[in-house]
Amino acid sequence: MRIRTAVPLAIAATAMAVVHAHKPITSKFTYNEHVFPIVRDRCSRCHVDGGVAPMSLTTYQAAFPWAESIKSELLAGHMPPTAPLSARELDVLMTWATGGTPEGPAAAEPNAVALRNDWPLGPPDLVVRVPAETVLAPGQMEETREFVLPSEGIAGRAIRAVDLRPGMPAVVRRATFYLRRERLRPARGERVPERHSASERGWGPASIGKSLTVLAFWLPGGETTPTSAGTAFMVPDDAEIVARVTFRKTWKYENDTVRDRSEVGFYFAPAAARAVQTIAVPRERGVRLPSAAEIVAVDVADVDGELVVRTTRPDGSRAVLLSTTGHREWPRRVWLSAPVRLPRGARLTTAAPTIVSIVLPGQARDRRRTR
């Protein structure tokens, strides 16, 4: 960082442009006036007292010592882990973090921000507590557990969203909700659970769409996005509903015993909803659609860095379906702003494996499977 003016176009014509110094305030953006609104809207679900992040950013005194760290995380594209900042938001934070971190007028001092631990979509249709409490002893920093949720009231239903309300928000790092079905192994004729390729860090695509269907990813601070209107994930009667939850302490709780028993909220759709399905898109060779389909979402779950998903139609025309960055620590599902209709034979390709959610156009509804 050097002394800079507010970097107008004529900056280079001034003598200031050749001055080099670090800390003097050169940022035209202040915390109270410009930075706080961004932090409040985009960061405060985690970076708040009691949140899952190790530091609050919701007051000037709490935020400015982290300016260098904020700069590094933004440049690396790590934060925020959900939807990326807009260009202007990014520019405001970078300008402030590198320009002396001015506080701004006291009159504009922001109101206090409290931890939110609610249901952003409103009260769920059904709330289920995970069957067991998780206890992290002193010194135990992380644990991932799978909970099979009671299926009563869920099996056979159409689901438009799944959300989680942590019992101890400071340690619930991420969660994945999925349906797991058993399959028949013909050679022996015995039923065994399908092995799935889920790792600690993300989801491999191998069994996705076969015996596993990811209903939703949950991140602290992430927006819970329901399926688009008229669509839903169908829960077969014989499926297990699994919540895979990762708990992780920050240094604040390193020597404490912490306990969590989270709640999972289900939001149901009308039984007549069109079914959302998931298909795996392997790296390099991609996947060819066996029938016409509407792409409605792309999972950014097994990639660190860039994820670009491209489409090639049978006539050879190409387009970028989604270009974004991902972090294995923070798997998420990106719902497209509008479904992308692709004809039979269209190809999806990507340099990193992913899973896309599709809806078949004109799909017949099977009312027997839903109610």
Binding site: R4, L9, V18, E103, S323
Partner: protein, 348 residues
């Protein structure tokens, strides 16, 4: 902490810079309001930060405008200093305002160096800040086959001989050669490079156990050490390079301005003038933000996505240009070029 200072006639002060607040123990803390130091909780003290022009080797010189050193005639370079006033009868007491002295004499203006207030090379070489935000380095190529690396602290003061010896450093040119502390206050190595232009990479661990930092240098000519020579008539002007003084032609369209700036960035990288990249990089992101703001039609989403990438890449170029790591700069530039293409496609 008041170090070397210069005395300037008070009458020359027509306008004072605004008051900032700094910690007497942690000068890197500079706030715009009174309060306590966030590190040690000491009350912050008022200070006025001013850009002055100083001699590369006679730091007592502090002039309001560029020119020649009145002692040796060398070109002055811009640095940032703190302004305070003292009275002759109490020289140890500094004030942020011109005060009335008890003995009736005029207050004396002092200019005190600030951390990171001087990023100018002191030996005619290429100057970088280290990623630890404290050290600084200057690479020099005084003659064929000799590479020198000067190490500085946060005030751009040379490290002591003891600290110099504790640093573990090597240079790739292209074969790797250890850098050895010399009595002149620098590290030196004989490098297997005989011709110009020459590219070299220094890798430095300032203290045992600390991370190693990489600094990429390019020399198009042999370095003339301003401290070694009395002849300043042909001394290259320091700090005001071509790239930093180039302006943007505001009569051109924003897209053309952006292309001009992209060319300036590429040019600075090609010349390995990494310290110049930040000016066109930050100008480019401002132009891109203006393009995004002006795009309200159906192209808006695609333009926004491209501008987001471009802004991030511009800040990367700014940051990595400071550090002088050619690989990081190349990666950031590739991202910038990709974002430019993305923006072009979005605007079509």
């Amino acid at each position: 902490m008041v170090g070397r200072f210069a005395i300037v006639a008070l009458a020359s002060l027509l306008q004072l810079p605004p008051v900032s607040w700094t910690c007497p123990m942690h000068p890197e803390i500079v706030e715009d309001a009174k309060g306590l130091c966030p590190i040690c909780r000491m009350p912050l003290e008022a200070v006025r930060l001013e850009q002055v022009w100083s001699c590369p080797i006679h730091s007592v010189v502090a002039e309001k405008a560029g020119g020649r050193c009145r002692i040796c005639g060398r070109d002055l370079v811009p640095i940032t200093m703190a302004m305070t006033w003292t009275c002759a009868d109490r020289p140890g007491v500094a004030h942020a305002e011109p005060v009335a002295c008890a003995d009736g004499s005029s207050p004396i203006l002092k200019y005190t160096p600030r951390p990171h207030g001087n990023h100018n090379p002191q030996h005619g070489g290429a100057f970088f800040m280290a990623p630890d935000n404290w050290h600084h380095v200057e690479g020099a190529y005084p003659r064929a086959g000799v590479f020198r690396l000067y190490l500085y602290d946060d005030y751009s003061r040379p490290l002591s001989a003891d600290r110099l010896r504790r640093a573990a450093a090597r240079v790739e040119a292209p074969r790797e050669v250890p850098l050895v502390a010399r009595s002149g206050g620098f590290l030196e190595a004989r490098v297997p490079v005989a011709s110009l232009p020459a590219q070299m990479t220094a890798k430095v661990r300032f203290k045992p156990g600390e991370p190693e930092h990489r600094f990429d240098f390019a020399f198009t000519d042999y370095t003339k050490d301003t401290k070694d020579t009395k002849d300043t008539t042909d001394t290259k002007e320091v700090g005001a390079s071509e790239g930093q003084t180039r302006d943007v032609d505001s009569t051109r369209t924003p897209r053309d301005q952006l292309k001009d700036l992209a060319r300036q960035i590429a040019d600075a990288i090609a010349r390995r003038a990494f310290g110049e990249i930040w000016v066109p990089a930050l100008q480019a992101k401002d132009v891109a933000l203006a393009i995004e703001a002006a795009t309200t039609d159906r192209r808006r989403d695609a333009v926004s996505a491209a501008v987001r990438e471009l802004v991030r890449a511009a800040w990367m170029l700014d940051t990595y240009g400071d550090l002088g790591n050619a690989q990081q700069i190349a990666d950031a530039h590739a991202r910038f070029v990709g974002a430019m293409k993305q923006l072009d496609a979005a605007l079509r």
